[in-house]
Structures are given as C-alpha cells and as structure tokens.
C-alpha cells in the first residue's frame, strides 16, 4: 500500500488538474455561447445561398459550364477545418479520420488546404500533401480571407491542377453532439426534384457569365458557414471533454481520499498496538 504522503501528494496534484479543467470548461462554455449565436446568424446566409444556388441551377436546366463538370485532373483539393488548440476530445481526430478513412480520397491525389494547427500536425504525420496552412483564419474568421482562399482554389481549378474541391468540417448539431461532414464544393451538383415552379430562370448577364460570378460567392459562403459551425463545434466538444475530465478527477479524488483515510486509520491503529505492546513488555 502506498504511503500516506504519496497518496496526499497524488491527490493534491489531481486537485490541481481538476481546477484547470474546470476553468477550461467555464471558458469554453462562454466561448460556445458566443460562437453559437454567430453561427446561427450566418446560417441564414449559408442556407439561403445553398437554396438559391440550387434553385437557380435547377431552373437553368442542363447547361455546359466548367464549374458544373469535374476537371480533368485526378487531384482533389480538400479544405479541412480543425482547431488550433487541443483538449477538445475527439473533435480534431474525427475530422481527420473522415479523410484518412475515406476510400475515395487517395492520399497521393489529395491537396490539403488546412485551417487549424491540429489538422496540419495530423496530416503531416500521415504523409499528406499540405498545399496551404492557414491557422489564423480560425481565430477570427473574416469573409474577405475566405474569399481570398476561394479565389486561390478556383484559380488552381481553372489551371487544371485540381479536378474537384471538398470541404471537411464539423457540423454543430447541438451542444452535446457534433458531426464531422464532408461536402463537395466543386463541381456543383444541384439536388434534383426540389424545384416546385417550372418557370425558367433568366439571367442578366448571360447565364454562363452569371454562374461564373455566383459560384465563387457560393463556395466562399459554404466555407465561411463551415468555419462558423466548426468554431461552435470546437467549443462544444471542448466543453464536453473538460466536463468529463472534471468529473473523472472528482472520482479519482474521492477514491484517493478514501485510501488516504484508510491509511491514516491504519497507521493510528498500528501505532496504538505498538504502544500497548511496548507498555506491556515493560510492566
């Protein structure tokens, strides 16, 4: 049995850890609330953009446009949104797994555009090609930064360096559940059968030109919306992880306290027995 001093030392170290996890939980709760309301506000734009582009594309009928057919290159670009900091449970590894365990995405054919340090670490460990590393966007996502990223993605799509573009992020379902998702950004695939009215959409300027201008905005808005969702998910995941850690620490402290008290009682009993035995021996 461990000595009383050892148990005491162990217990106080766990108490220290518990204080940290408790504080982190509180911090991420506050951050979560902020991130959540931001995500809800931009969700409108995100959703309407998705709906509008889908309805536009289903109305134009089948037109040949370079953004609507896959490029010739077998390479695929994936924009992966992870966090800069750890201690968020499975948050980062779930997103990474979405790509490493996907049979359709072959390691050799992928260009990773990594947002967040944790994702970069994981992908470089697995030996993926990291085209861009953008840890700063996640701290304070600005629409203009996302726009720049979209322009770079589209430029390399047009140069024929990549044939398809994907986005991997964590969808914020609610505070306790987040779901990693992989969505295809390019080529745009309109969903079928959602269109109620059969009116044909007109474009000013010409449809090809209009789609040229709308698709970049569509992609930016999806990435931007994904970022907002991911930030909310990150804080939700961290809050949960820290909550678990705090209650685990509590459990360990209880167990150690019990052990400590037993050891203390044991030593008192032993001392008493020794004194009695000693006095008996003298008399």
């Amino acid at each position: 049995m461990a000595s009383m001093r050892d148990i005491k030392r162990r217990r106080s170290s766990i108490q220290g850890t518990q204080q940290i996890t408790k504080a982190m939980k509180l911090v991420s709760t506050v951050k979560l609330q902020r991130a959540r309301s931001a995500a809800e506000k931009s969700k409108y734009y995100f959703d309407s953009m998705f709906r509008t582009v889908n309805s536009i594309l289903s109305r134009v009928g089948h037109i040949e446009h370079r953004y609507l057919i896959p490029g010739e290159s077998p390479r695929k670009a994936v924009v992966v949104i992870t966090s800069n900091r750890g201690l968020a449970g499975g948050y980062n590894s779930n997103v990474v797994k979405l790509i490493t365990r996907n049979d359709e995405l072959k390691k050799e054919d992928l260009d990773i555009y990594c947002i967040g340090n944790k994702g970069r670490e994981a992908f470089s460990r697995h030996g993926y090609t990291i085209r861009e590393d953008l840890p700063d966007i996640i701290e304070d996502p600005l629409y203009s930064e996302v726009n720049d990223l979209t322009n770079r993605l589209l430029a390399s799509f047009e140069k024929g360096e990549i044939g398809e573009i994907y986005l991997a992020y964590t969808f914020f379902k609610n505070t306790v559940s987040q779901e990693p998702r992989l969505i295809k950004l390019l080529p745009v695939e309109p969903e079928d059968g959602e269109d109620e009215s059969n009116a044909v959409m007109n474009f000013e300027p010409e449809d090809v030109e209009a789609i040229d201008m709308i698709i970049p905005k569509y992609i930016s808005s999806l990435i931007y919306g994904g970022l907002k969702e991911a930030i909310a998910s990150e804080n939700g995941a961290r809050m949960q992880a820290m909550d678990n850690a705090t209650s685990n620490a509590e459990e360990m402290i209880d167990k150690l306290s019990l052990q400590y008290n037993r050891a203390r009682q044991g030593s008192i009993t032993q001392e008493l027995t020794e004194i009695i035995a000693g006095s008996e021996a003298i008399s």
Binding site: T52, I56, I214
Partner: protein
C-alpha cells in the same frame, strides 16, 4: 400574392439585413440600374455598388449595396449581399478618403494597377457618399 407588394429579404454573411414587404425595389446591377415591381419574371442579376431603394408602403428606405447577387421571382426577391450598409453605419470621412484614393489611382495609372479593383473601390465609395446625401 398580396395586392401589390412582395417579400424582400436581404441577407449578409453576418446577419439578416432586411426582411419585409415592399412595393418596389431599385438597385444597381452589372447591366445598369433596375427597378423591380411585383410579378417580375424570374431573373438572376449580379449586384454592382450603388444605392438600394426599398419602397415600402410607409415610405422609402435607402442603403448602400456593394456586392452580391439577387434572385428575383414574381412574389419575392432574395438579395444575397456580401456588403450592405444603412446610412447610419457609414463612416463618411472614410468613404471620402477612399474616393480620393481611388480617383488618384485611376488618374496616375501606374504600372501593375488593378484597374478593375480601383474602379470597384471608386464605385463603392460613391455609393456610400450618395446614400448619405
């Protein structure tokens, strides 16, 4: 469809900018300024910097609309705007500075000047200043 108004929604990445009923909407597009009444044929237009006028029953509201696109349907309009501002959100001094800067750039025409960008900046600054007038 309600008599002669239609639903209009203006959304930005950060917020829902405006949502309501209007009799007519005017704004600037790549093809020129347009005014839309209810019952318009389905049309998608690309927004260019300019003044957005929303004619409500009670009166007119104006805002500076800079970029985005609009989906027009007979009974509603959705404008997905990247940047749009009410007059009281505009910093006049900044707009004036930007106007001057854009004008200088276009006048000097030094090498490597991104003319399209400078022109957009000019239009944007002008839209802001016009809204304030």
């Amino acid at each position: 469809m309600a008599d002669n108004t239609f639903a209009i929604r203006i959304i930005t990445p950060e917020r829902v900018f405006y949502e309501g009923e209007a009799e007519m909407v005017e704004f600037n597009t790549t093809e020129g300024e347009i005014g839309i009444y209810p019952g318009h044929i389905p049309l998608t237009v690309i927004v260019k910097p300019g003044i957005l006028r929303i004619h409500e029953k009670e009166g007119e509201r104006i805002a500076a609309l800079h970029s985005g696109f609009a989906e027009i349907l007979p009974d509603k309009i959705s404008i997905l705007a990247e940047i749009v501002e009410w007059p009281d959100e505009i910093d006049e001094k900044r707009a004036l500075d930007a106007l001057q800067r854009a004008k200088d750039r276009l006048k000097d025409r030094y090498e490597n000047l991104d003319v399209a960008r400078a022109e957009t900046a000019l239009q944007r600054a002008m839209a802001r200043i016009n809204v304030l007038k």
